[in-house]
Amino acid sequence: MAAIRGNGRVSAPAVEVSDLVKRYPKSPVNAVDGISFAVTPGEVFGLLGPNGAGKTTTIGMLTTRVRPTSGKAMIGGIEVAADPVRARSLLAVVPQRSNLDRSISVRRNLTFHAAYHGVPAAEATRRADELLEQFGLLDRADVKPDLFSGGQSQRMMIARALMHEPMVLFLDEPSTGLDPAARLFVWDRLRELRTRGVTLILTTHDMHEAATLADRVGIMDHGKLLALDTPEALMRGLSGSSTLELSVNATGDGDGSARLAGALGTLPGVERVEPLHDEQGNGQTDQWLLRLYVSGEASQLVGPAATLLAERGIELSGVELGAPTLEDVFIALTGRTLR
């Protein structure tokens, strides 16, 4: 596979995985079961899936820490398993849990990381200053990373990862456990990286994060890639998950909610109507809530539904439109079972 970049030149994918399989010894099933995908340079790629779906193993194989059973994992045209040393020089990993070096200061964490990657000392110092500044860490630069909050550790690890200017940056659950401000901060930094052309691969089970950041999302479960597309296309493809919720006030001897539901179900584009609950008001008025699952745009149904209600003398008291979220896509593909 190759991607056509804006300048018309054909360039190698930043990341390419083909028929990748990992089976752990003594396991009856494949942890990763023959997945293939390619990520173009500068793309933000989200890998979504429930716990145990195989995301971490997939990332492990791309980052030289897990040996594939079969298939290929490539970074910048280099086969990871065949030349792990070179692959390591092209990638960086930001894990979910801090793995910062607690024996040395934050600044030294950055400069030693650069030294491992062969960045000359003067250049490393310059980059460290720049990144510490950019990530709001300058005031704590000379402290050991022992007692830092999750958000600070996360920022430090991203800063450290950028010290050798990797081509591909892997982030595992980049904002899990962060407070909202820290999360927005991290997201902003990640967007900046993308504008600089760094390829980002993030694993997450935060749908909002995936929908906000990722250009494309792959949904994994049981070691397989179930879907791969832009978040918008995935959501569009999920039929019947646009919803229209109607709250109505009906007089006591009006239509029963089941009969009303039946009538609404005949409107064009409505796939299913679900009466949610009948609230006993002050005894005179029933408050009904009905949810319509719609195949097209839910907003187009507001008019016909209101007309139908008016014809039956039912007062409409509230309307709520629901668009499908990535979460709906995720649930539709992977199911609701906890594991």
């Binding site: 190759a2 054909v10 030289t64 040996r67 045209g77 040393v85 849990r97 793995n99 024996s103 030294a115």
Partner: protein, 269 residues
Amino acid sequence: MSAAVAAAPAPAHVSQARAFTAVLRRDVYVTGKELPVFLAQVILQPLFLLFVFGKVLGSLGYTQHGYSDLLFPGLLALTTVITGMQTLAFPLVVEFGWTKEIEDRLLAPMSTALVAAEKVLFASLRAMIATSIMIPVGIIVLGSIPWRWSGVPLLVLALVLGSLLGAGLGLVMGTLVVPQRINIVFSLVFTPLLFTGCSQYPWPSLSRLPWFQVVTACNPMTYVSEAMRAALVPSVPHIAPWVCIVVLVGSVSALMVVGVRGFYRRAID
């Protein structure tokens, strides 16, 4: 895949040697910052052994004159092996098991075997420095130490092999032991190692306790003690130096093979 794949933007060359020295520099830097702790950690135990067995018991007349002369090379051996082992095993278990600090080095552009080799080299260096410090400490505590310039080459050889032996033991323990068991394993390994390594008695004299002589012959540290004794107090009966060296080279090689294999198992799934 397309045939038109542009040249990968890989760096012009990846220097594993540079990564290796940078990781070594990091370890040296951390030791430098924690120098008093390092010195206390390595010196305290042999210092007290030297003081109690060499000085106190001798002054009270419980040990024969000359005992401190055969004890001193044994304690050099003990310091070498134990320091090498501790320097490697404890941090390795913690880094693999809890802090995951080692990950940044495992992702450095160098082969995983080199990450293990750096650990071994650094632990050996620390062991050799700690042992060298024992020489002035011995002079201060005992007043004088047995010394033979002609024995120095053998002493240095035993020092190098002994520190590699300690590092090898540390590498094997640090990678094979699961973090939850480290306390148990250390107490089960450490104490027997300490007392069956012939540091406090010469091996040939154990002929009166044949079963214990067999036990001590199985502890590779015995051969470090015996070689150092051969170097510094050749008048005390000892195992022939060439036997010591052959056994040590064999033990170090075996430990490195098992240790590096264990390291790979922990580093790569």
